[in-house]
């Protein structure tokens, strides 16, 4: 059992990456870059789960990461298909151009 790197450091890194992902989702207008920022947020949560799983000796965290990755793959397929369908209709991927639902 080596204690080279405290659990803190992984959690701090995960918090920073999650905030970077959030800024990306809120700031960008390109739908694909927004999608990539969501993947950034998902991966930061994966890092937290794996860090706790390793430090607590509980493998459930890594199993949960396995399922999060599967769900992220499914979300990638469906989300990109939606972006494709929107692009066919509107010829743009910038999310501020989609405003026909505004009242």
């Amino acid at each position: 059992m080596y204690q080279e790197i405290p659990l803190n450091y992984y959690l701090i890194l995960s918090a920073i990456l999650f905030s970077i992902g959030t800024i990306g989702v809120l700031t960008r207008r390109n739908a694909i870059v927004i999608f990539m920022s969501i993947e950034l947020m998902l991966n930061s949560v994966n890092l937290t789960l794996v860090a706790f799983a390793s430090f607590m000796g509980d493998t459930a965290g890594q199993i949960f990461v396995f399922f999060v990755m599967a769900v992220a793959a499914a979300e990638a397929a469906v989300g990109l298909a939606i972006i494709l369908a929107l692009f066919r209709k509107k010829k743009t991927v910038y999310v501020d151009k989609f405003n026909i639902l505004k009242w």
């Binding site: 059992m1 080596y2 204690q3 080279e4 790197i5 405290p6 659990l7 803190n8 450091y9 992984y10 959690l11 701090i12 890194l13 918090a15 920073i16 990456l17 999650f18 905030s19 970077i20 992902g21 959030t22 800024i23 990306g24 809120l26 700031t27 960008r28 207008r29 390109n30 694909i32 870059v33 999608f35 990539m36 993947e39 950034l40 991966n43 994966n46 890092l47 794996v50 390793s54 493998t59 459930a60 890594q62 199993i63 990461v65 399922f67 990755m69 599967a70 769900v71 992220a72 793959a73 499914a74 979300e75 990638a76 397929a77 469906v78 990109l80 298909a81 494709l84 991927v93 501020d96």
Partner: protein, 175 residues
Amino acid sequence: MSVTFIFFAITAILAIASGIITISSKNPVVSAISLIFHFFMLAGLYLTLQAQFIAVIQILVYAGAIMVLVVFVIMLLNIGKENYREEIYSFRKAAALLLGPVLALLLLSIFMVNPSSDNGIVETINYNGINYTAGSVELIADVLYTDYLFPFEAIAILLIAAILGAVVLAKRNLH
């Protein structure tokens, strides 16, 4: 300053840097490649946590499948650089850039716990009476196929639904 710590420091700084490049680049292809690099850095971090299976699966699934799909879509839609300069300084961007660090500070205040009872990474886990190396494929398989069998089968149904949804959404209407 052990080798592990230096490796962790370099990997973490590169992960943060590639994350910032992902969200801030004007060219979506640069964002995608930076995100692929970020996933490789995260796989390195998982290796420092003795999570060998998750590290390899991260590279295979995220960098190898999801990002390939994203790059396909970027190339298919032929998206150029973001040159729509009308909205550089907007209230939404200013609010996000101000509140993002606030979110970071909130999360950091939760996560800066005192690790006084921390014994480091657990090396060997005893599961069902057998000693496994932590994070190995055997341990993940034993836990996944015994305790978490139902979510495993449910994930299979979810993936089928996702495939069908993606095909239906993306195909052209032939009338």
